[in-house]
């Protein structure tokens, strides 16, 4: 049920955060077509806490909003009254370079954070799309990073402490600012990937990594997808530990504008280390790429490499490359060649063009399908998605739909089947948001 007394709600929220921090012009904050009645832009954790306390009194459904880059993710929201825009929570609370740790508020963008860290030759091992806009909170809530993952770690592995505001405004914390800590349960794990359904992430402590002394990227092109993936899996199986690795099929390459090679499948390997170490990794990786049948292997440095990775990471998320359908499949890495071969065929008979990017070491497939505007109807897209899902499940994998038209979304659970752990997930929601106020219905199992 949506809040009926919008005026009273607006008044209460205005009292909580101050008139300068509420917006009644809310069209820019639509989630799959649902538009909130009011947007609050708190400038402090306390102010957000008061806003949530007030909103929950009204039973108002609230969606936290970071940079708005990933609002396409999630099931159709059941109700929406308030959007809490967190871009005002933008302080770097504490950065102690010597500790290799940083504490920031959730609204800090990844670009700004990395810039602050770069001055001290450090970085955070997270590389989400659109870092100029993507915030720390949104990146963690969706738990989706880009191809760069230090030592194969994922978003959950870089968080050492977290502060959260609950649906009723209570502020709680877990973990701390030290890299090793087992004091109490690790509550942050619930919120990383929790899509803001159990609480709003407001402050995060991360462990950092020293910037490698040198860096270089290898770009290998292949006539066949199979060989390209095979090369990437061999690098995964070797002693080389890339800072990032991705493959792109020819359609993805063309749309992302990564390399001007026609009809080529690309493997990009980002390597780093001190001079001798980097050379060694370049040598080993080049040999692996060539043995797997690369038509060409090229080395990119500095800006050329940076721009390549930016394009790979942003692909499918910026307006220019946003697909009609975007899916993320997770598998054991060895199953990639078979599944990718399958996905490349799906949808083509309907006139959809697939474009596939993989992060092979993580067993991640990012499959995008592009349609001419409106050329494929809801029925066709739904059938295509179910074929893709079957293929992924056939390889014992999982598929999450990152993006699809609202009409298609209405008929399915974009997260797929959470299996026998769904009852625990539902009781988590019951524990932390009994009123079902945070992003209601958007999560797995329509939590």
């Amino acid at each position: 049920m949506t809040v009926t007394d919008v005026k009273a709600l607006a008044e209460a929220l205005t009292n909580a955060v101050g008139p300068e921090n509420v917006m009644h012009e809310t069209a820019g904050y639509s989630i799959d077509g649902a538009v909130p009645s009011i947007v609050v832009l708190p400038k402090s954790i306390e102010s957000l806490s008061s806003a949530m306390a007030a909103a929950s009194e009204f039973g108002a459904a609230t969606a936290p909003w970071g940079g708005g880059t990933r609002m396409a993710l999630g099931n159709t929201i059941q109700r929406l009254d308030v959007v809490a825009d967190l871009s005002g929570l933008d302080r770097v609370v504490q950065h102690t370079p010597g500790d290799l740790t940083v504490t920031v508020e959730a609204g800090v963008t990844l670009a700004r954070l990395q810039e602050t860290l770069r001055e001290h030759s450090q970085f955070l091992g997270l590389d989400p799309p659109l870092p100029q806009r993507a915030t720390v909170g949104g990146t963690l809530a969706t738990a989706v990073s880009g191809p760069a993952k230090w030592q194969y770690m994922s978003p959950r592995d870089v968080v050492i402490g977290m502060k959260v505001v609950s649906a009723d405004g209570t502020v709680t914390k877990s973990g701390g600012q030290v890299v090793k800590n087992v004091s109490g349960y690790d509550m942050s794990r619930l919120h990383v990937g929790g899509l803001g359904t159990l609480g709003i992430i407001v402050e995060v402590s991360f462990k950092l990594t020293p910037t490698p002394r040198r860096e270089a990227t290898l770009l290998a092109s292949y006539p066949s997808t199979t060989d390209c993936l095979k090369a990437s899996l061999e690098i995964f199986g070797s002693q080389v530990v890339p800072l990032g690795m991705a493959t792109l099929d020819s359609a993805a390459n063309e749309r992302a504008g990564v390399a001007s090679v026609d009809d080529a499948r690309l493997l990009a390997v980002r390597l780093a280390g001190r001079p001798m170490t980097l050379d060694r990794q370049l040598r080993d990786s080049t040999a692996i790429c060539r043995d797997a049948g690369a038509a060409a292997v090229e080395r990119l440095d500095d800006d050329a490499a940076a721009s390549l990775w930016r394009r790979v990471s942003d692909f499918g998320w910026d307006e220019r490359t946003a697909p009609t359908i975007g899916c993320r499949a997770s598998l054991v890495p060895s199953a990639l060649p078979e599944v990718v071969a399958d996905l490349e065929q799906i949808g083509t008979s309907l006139g959809l063009t697939p474009a596939i990017v993989c992060h092979p070491a993580h067993g991640t497939v990012l499959a995008h399908w592009f349609a001419q505007d409106g050329s494929v109807g809801t029925g066709g897209l739904t059938a295509m998605l179910s074929a893709a899902g079957d293929s992924v499940r056939g390889a014992a994998g999982h598929m999450v739909i990152d993006r699809c038209p609202a009409e298609v979304k209405a008929g399915l659970d974009v997260f797929g089947d959470a299996g026998d752990s769904l009852p625990i997930m539902k009781s988590l929601k019951e524990q932390y948001d009994p009123g079902n106020l945070l992003n209601p219905g958007r999560y797995a199992g329509r939590i």
């Binding site: 701390g176 090793k180 004091s183 619930l190 993580h362 797929g416 199992g445």
Partner: protein, 480 residues
């Protein structure tokens, strides 16, 4: 249910040979590596998930508390029986179900000994990174429950970074699988939430562990400094100058003295602190990083630096560090060991404060540290037969914990809260924080039967801890 019927019921599930209930047989199951002890009514040794589930379900029906138990090397009382309940020992579930080298994972039963996993995967050139010093004895299930670390987790991370799937039996006996053989299971990260729950959210019956490639080369460097301050500064400097060695360990002069007496490492007499640094990886990386570490150490006026690459020589450099615990017995009949963590840049100041606390309470404190991650293991030495000394030892330990929290650190870096530090939790967490944590346990279906009365404060007075009796069970080669 009376005891006889309970035993009968358990025997029907697991077989007669798999239930211990005579007081004599139960003795070794009364304690773990901590000070507390309590007798269980019975210890059961299931051999399958199915049996675990049936045992837990029986206990649930009868309202009997259950405590999961691995090797009993825990240092915070996690596997100690409660309220005359039963212990479920997982030590007979120790099979490696699958090694999938291509995908770098292994699927194992919880009773598997930590080191056995790495030994089994060595022929594929892979290893399981978490390496608690008790790794010859402790189980993977215990590691998951405690989110165990180890000397090499500075570079590689702790257990939670290496476990991606679990099968667990909840308090009512139901079996659920969490996560998968890869990351990306839809919905909340229940595996991440479970790891480190100290046996309060379910009995682990299966683990999907990530494996890493065995490094091509390893080099160990030992630097002897005149003072703890210089060694601590060197630690900050190594981290601050952009290096993350695999291990970065420290001992202070008292620890050195104790160890030297038993392993004869031959350190210079004026040694005030010893740093042990290990780097591993590609041959080239090891060479380059070791050279830099050495340069940094040299800037802090060491008395001497030794390095080694071959396994035997490296083992010699580690010998004193690994021998400290056993050697403390030469200095005093008992010790009480802490496990706090502090931000690494605060180490010099914190170590100085620990020295002052030692003076204030009139008791020697020997320090071993996983210095690279700011994890202290101060051992307050005392004699249990002297009640006043015992009281002061516990108070000194408490002071150090408070100090850790004050400088932005944590109560425990790797040993867990359990029974030992539960009363200190309010130092770090507010009532709201603790309530939120308690909600997690409820969501997993835990009421008051699965390892109850641990982790959360009960309001009792602050307890103390002495682990001197414990180390034996971790077996030869264990250290802290």
């Amino acid at each position: 249910m009376n005891k006889r019927r309970l035993i009968k019921g358990l025997e029907r599930i697991v077989g007669r040979g798999a239930v211990l209930h005579h007081p004599d047989d139960l003795l070794v199951f009364e304690y773990d590596g901590s000070v507390d002890r309590a007798a269980p009514t019975a210890v059961v040794f299931p051999t399958s998930t199915h049996e675990v589930s049936d045992v837990v379900a029986l206990a649930h029906r009868e309202g009997i508390p259950v405590v999961p138990r691995g090797a009993g090397t825990g240092l915070s009382g996690g596997s100690i029986a409660v309220e005359g309940g039963i212990e479920i020992a997982l030590t007979r579930m120790r099979r490696i179900l699958k090694i999938d080298a291509a995908n770098r994972i292994a699927i194992v039963e919880p009773g598997l000994v930590n080191l056995d996993l790495s030994q089994a995967t060595a022929r594929f050139g892979l290893f399981f990174a978490p390496d608690p010093s008790s790794q010859r004895a402790c189980t993977i299930g215990g590691n998951v429950a405690e989110n165990a670390g180890g000397p090499h987790c500075l570079r590689y991370g702790v257990t939670t970074n290496h476990v991606i799937g679990l099968e667990v039996v909840l308090e009512d006996g139901s079996v659920v699988s969490l996560g998968d053989r890869f990351l990306g299971w839809p919905g909340y990260d229940l595996v991440g939430a479970f790891v480190g729950s100290e046996g309060t959210m379910g009995v682990v019956t299966r683990v999907v562990a990530r494996l890493l490639p065995v490094p091509q080369a390893v080099r160990t460097l030992l630097a002897v400094f005149p003072t703890v301050d210089q060694a601590s500064s060197a630690v900050s400097r190594v981290i601050g100058s952009g290096m993350v060695p695999t291990a970065l360990e420290m001992m202070d002069s008292l620890a050195i003295k104790a160890a030297d007496a038993s392993v004869h490492a031959g350190y210079p007499k004026e040694a005030g602190a010893v740093l042990l640094v290990e780097v591993d990886g590609l041959t080239e990386a090891v060479e380059e990083e070791a050279a830099e570490v050495q340069q940094v150490c040299e800037r802090h006026q060491p008395i001497e630096i030794r390095t080694a690459t071959d396994p035997l020589e490296r083992e010699k450099l580690w010998a004193a560090r690994k021998g400290v615990l056993g050697a403390l017995g030469h200095l005093a009949p008992n010790y009480s060991m802490g496990d706090g963590t502090v931000p690494r840049t605060r180490l010099p100041e914190v170590m100085a404060r620990v020295g002052e606390i030692s003076k204030e309470f009139g008791l020697p404190i020997a320090n071993v540290l996983h210095a690279g991650d700011g994890n202290l293991h101060p051992a307050v030495l005392f004699d249990e037969r002297n009640p006043d000394e015992t009281r002061r030892a516990y108070e000194a330990g408490g002071e150090i914990l408070k100090l850790c929290v004050e400088v932005g650190g944590a109560l425990t870096g790797e040993h867990g809260i359990g029974l030992e530090k539960q009363e200190y939790m309010p130092l770090m967490f507010s009532a709201d924080d603790l309530e939120a944590m308690a909600g997690l346990k409820v969501a997993f279906g835990t009421g008051d039967l699965l390892n109850p009365g641990k982790i959360f404060p009960t309001g009792k007075s602050l307890p103390g801890a002495s682990q001197s009796a414990a180390v034996g069970r971790a077996g030869a080669g264990a250290y802290i």
